[in-house]
Amino acid sequence: MPDTAIHPERSRGTAVREISYADAIREALAEEMRRDPTVFVIGEDVAEAGTPFKVVKGLVEEFGKTRVVDTPISEAGFTGLAVGAAMAGMRPVVDIMFGDFMTLIMDQVVNQAAKIHYMSGGKWKVPMVIRATMGATRRSAAQHSQSLHAWPSHIPGLKVAIPSTPYDAKGLLKAAIRDDNPVVVFEDKISYAKVKGPVPDEDYVIPLGVADIKREGSDISIVATSSMVQVALGAATMLEEIGIDAEVVDPRTTWPLDEKTLIESVKKTSRCIVVDEGYFRYGVTGEIASVIAEGAFYDLDGPVRRLGARHVPIPFAPPLEDATVPNERDVVALARQMCNK
């Protein structure tokens, strides 16, 4: 087996294939399951069905039903089971079909998985991954559209990844599986099929806690997470036309948080927008904006500004739902205002 490459930086040039975000995740799982027999996937309809999003489709054929395990609709039960299994030598990858069901497993994740290492004075380890989805605009309404990554990001003992590209999704998930701590990975549902990108053939991981500059620029920093990275890149293209050179920075993990890269970008550009798809209030943007405002205060031209999902439960009707999630126009309008253009 060749050595794993460690790619803190976004792949530049080495990749030859364009694959989808979902394919990248499936590859990550398959490769890690081949590499390590203690890795297994557990969740609802993960085997033959490959989840409703088909993202793990095909794994059961290669690894069988003992390593791709269909469960009852018992999110708390099987997540907690995974915690125990992780303590006893396995590396479970738990599939939470809709991130909204994080509500059902917070005790297992927060009171158990996150704290066991610490409470035991470092004696027990909980090497497990929870893959959950996030993202709205699929007309799935209030209980199937939330992006709840702010919650685990708040909890010491957890790491949280929110990949935005196939490259990141694969590299972060592989790193998460090899990590000896519980890691929650939020995958954007819309990106599964929609976002394609270069992914190298060879084995690589992306260390957790390293931000990536998705686009360099000098006038304004747009710190964007998950689905919002595509929005930010789209906005950057539009801004370019009117002479605003935006830098797009993707933290890739909310915890650990690569404060240095974020702050340095803003020190350079002196303006910053933070955009995230989670609920706006008490969410991810508050922390990131505060970190930047503290770290780059004296370089800032004006306050760090934030965009997030509207402070409403996600509605079903398309014109309403579309009004809840930040889009390119919102980013462009705010950036223009901040740059006085």
């Binding site: 009852p72 609709i73 209030a142 209980q143 079903f316 009707a317 398309p318 309403l320």
Partner: protein, 330 residues
């Protein structure tokens, strides 16, 4: 004896029987149109059809008063209709229109309506179990005699909160009825892969009265539900009904290629032999309580009503985008 004479002899029961028949036909017709709207990309989100299971919603709700409560599921159109929802406001909701039951904010999985005691369809599997138990609690505390029915798929047997609910209901003798619709599949997984032991025992273990019922036979459903509902209303506590049934279609409309989890033959067997509408229609005719012609006419009437409801919904406007901020707080 003429049909009229027979009907007269059977008295009120015939009226009820025809009401139930009409109710099942209406659900079927509603769902066929939902299917159509969905496949023509007019309905956003997902459509989980109740086709094949109509006897349960209808047989149970026929045993309820208008002011009784229900909770429903992601597969909720049948329950909502059977509890008294009108199709035009339902279709409007399915299409996300302002005129819908929830002003377009809920959609297919969240139809709710205080006027018909509908506490809401719920897209969290098992989510209705505590709500129904709580409504029953309120009914008891307020000295009312309203009963609450919790409909759920056998998948919800996997959610621990259901057992917490049944324990509370039995401890406090609450007027609530848990109706488990075992259509044999949770999404794409057979229930035998998710359900150890024995289903009714999961209720009797907590002391609940329990009965297993042929969910394709609306008369059996209605009889069992009536007994449990009256028992609950009298103050004798909660009940559990296991309804054996089958989902004739995919988990949702888009679930087309299903052979990997269940066979065409199995589906065809159920549709041919165990269609609740055919079974009940056949019985009505064989008992001489209705003739085929009358049933056909009824079906046509329902179809026309449903078509009109679809038209209403299609023509209804979407909510204005600024409505998005309303109704977050009461």
């Amino acid at each position: 004896m003429s049909i009229a004479a027979k009907q007269e002899a059977a008295g009120l029961d015939v009226e009820k029987a025809l009401h139930m028949y009409r109710g099942m036909v209406a659900i079927r017709a509603f769902e066929e149109r939902a299917n159509d709207l969905y496949t023509r990309a007019l309905m956003p989100g997902l459509a989980h059809l109740y086709i094949g299971e109509e006897a349960i919603a209808v047989g149970v709700c026929e045993a309820l008063r208008p002011d009784d409560y229900i909770t429903s599921t992601h597969r909720g159109h049948g329950h909502c209709l059977a509890k008294g929802a009108v199709p035009n406001l339902m279709f409007a909701e399915l299409l996300g229109k302002e005129a819908g039951y929830c002003k377009g904010k809920g959609g297919s999985m969240h139809i709710a309506d205080p006027a018909t005691g509908n506490l809401g369809a719920n897209a969290i599997v098992g989510g209705g179990s505590t709500l129904a138990t709580g409504a029953a609690y309120a009914s008891k505390m307020l000295g009312q005699d309203r009963v609450a029915v919790c409909f759920f798929g056998e998948g919800a047997l996997g959610q621990g909160v259901l057992y917490e609910s049944m324990n509370l209901a039995q401890l406090w003798t609450l007027p609530v009825l848990y109706v488990c619709e075992n259509n044999m599949y949770c999404e794409y997984t057979h229930y035998s892969e998710t359900t150890a032991g024995d289903i009714p025992s999961r209720a009797t273990a907590f002391g609940l009265a329990s009965e297993t019922v042929d969910g394709q036979d609306v008369r059996a459903v209605h009889a069992a539900a009536s007994k449990m509902v009256e028992r609950a209303r009298r103050g004798d506590g909660p009940g559990f009904l296991l309804m054996n049934t089958y989902r004739f279609r995919g988990h949702h409309v888009g679930d087309i290629a299903r052979d990997y989890y269940r066979s065409k033959q199995e589906e065809q067997r159920w549709m041919a032999d165990r269609d609740p509408i055919a079974i009940f229609g056949g019985w009505l005719v064989s008992e001489g309580l209705a003739d085929k012609g009358a049933l056909d006419r009824l079906e046509k009437e329902v179809a026309a009503e449903m078509d009109a409801a679809v038209e209403f919904a299609k023509n209804a406007p979407y909510p204005d985008a600024q409505r998005v901020d309303e109704d977050v707080y009461a």
